[in-house]
Symmetry: C2
Subunit: 216 residues, 2 copies
């Protein structure tokens, strides 16, 4: 089982029992999330910007406009830290102190590079599109030359990463189990509602299976 090496940079310090360095666990969280939060340093100050992402093997891909500050900074190879969090439920204990969330999170580290070569860029855009909705790439118009030029793609080889996962019921203090207080978990799930046609949609075009079968 492939694991990321534990280093001072990626080591989970709080509640190490919830930590995982297992690549499969980490990649599954990255793949399920729709957005990531990219942290970087400019003029000594921290910045965090949300972004769409996708994973291609051991590389995290981001895309944006060429003029985007995020793309320019990350593409220039500065160190970034990317955090991804999925919230799975409210953990409701008998005491305030043991309230928590069930979650799965990943923090990863790396240095980006611009993806410039046309075929590589197309492949990255395909992976990014399929990350949003599997099957979508083959349904839609591919990028034109000018669209390709206007889009920046950066790849961030995942040098180091860790996951932190909390699941299951609340854990109360022994003496609190007798209290007449409800305790448990309220599971949360991000689900899809009914698809909404674009108002200019030509008559007779059905919602494709890719959308109907969406299940993240």
């Amino acid at each position: 089982m492939a694991e990321f090496a534990v280093s001072p940079r990626n080591q989970v310090k709080r509640v190490p029992a919830r930590a995982s360095y297992d690549q499969a666990t980490i990649y599954q969280i990255i793949d399920q999330a729709l957005v990531c939060h990219v942290g970087f340093v400019q003029d000594g100050l921290p910045s965090v910007i949300p972004a769409n992402h996708a994973r291609l093997d051991d590389v995290l891909l981001l895309h944006g406009a060429q003029a985007s500050r995020l793309m320019q900074h990350v593409g220039a190879g500065h160190e970034v830290c990317v955090a991804i969090t999925l919230v799975d439920g409210l953990v409701l204990a008998r005491s305030v102190a043991h309230h928590s969330l069930n979650f799965r999170s990943v923090v990863l580290f790396g240095r980006g590079a611009i993806v410039d070569e046309e075929q590589e860029k197309l492949r990255a855009l395909k992976v990014l599109t399929e990350h949003i909705l599997p099957g979508r790439w083959d349904e839609v118009r591919e990028p034109s030359q000018s669209e390709l030029k206007a889009t920046a793609v950066v790849s961030i080889p995942i040098d180091s990463a860790s996951a932190k996962v909390r699941c299951g019921p609340p854990a109360d203090d022994e003496e609190d189990y007798q209290l007449p207080i409800w305790a448990g978990v309220l599971p949360l799930q991000q689900g899809a509602l009914e698809p909404v046609d674009e108002p200019g949609l030509s008559a007779g075009i059905p919602v494709p299976d890719s959308v109907l079968n969406y299940n993240r």
Copy 2:
């Protein structure tokens, strides 16, 4: 209508039409989200850590263990950047280039301080608990002296902030509207499933209304 001043630090550079500096818009996003992503700089390197948060007036509150690196660093008054993102849907255009997400995000800046005074700390923990689930504070056992001591709370006055909001249908290029391709939005919503009793729950304790009525 209160607004945050626009500065180089909080100005939204990409797609300024989606930017908002309106306090009410920004605070609503902060209040709806269950987690935030806190960015900070250590040894010149970026770190991003997910955290529970809550807002009390113009202050963002975080809590954690006293030994937590995040609490110690933020409590020491270093600059932080906090990003909060709500994903509202998949934006599915006729062309790859116009695919997007509907989202509401906030990026805020400030410097934290430890909340040490007992009554202030209790009030902050109440706000943090009520943020997870309104009504919960009055249902559960309040923190003991030793729990209070073991918990760190930091307050971050929100010095500067901006929101970015994308909503509505995809916008395709004029010539693409004739393509026989479905386009629209797949709305996403984080909903609650059935509450799960803690396995050690005493018989006859019903799920409280706070949980049954959860609606973020």
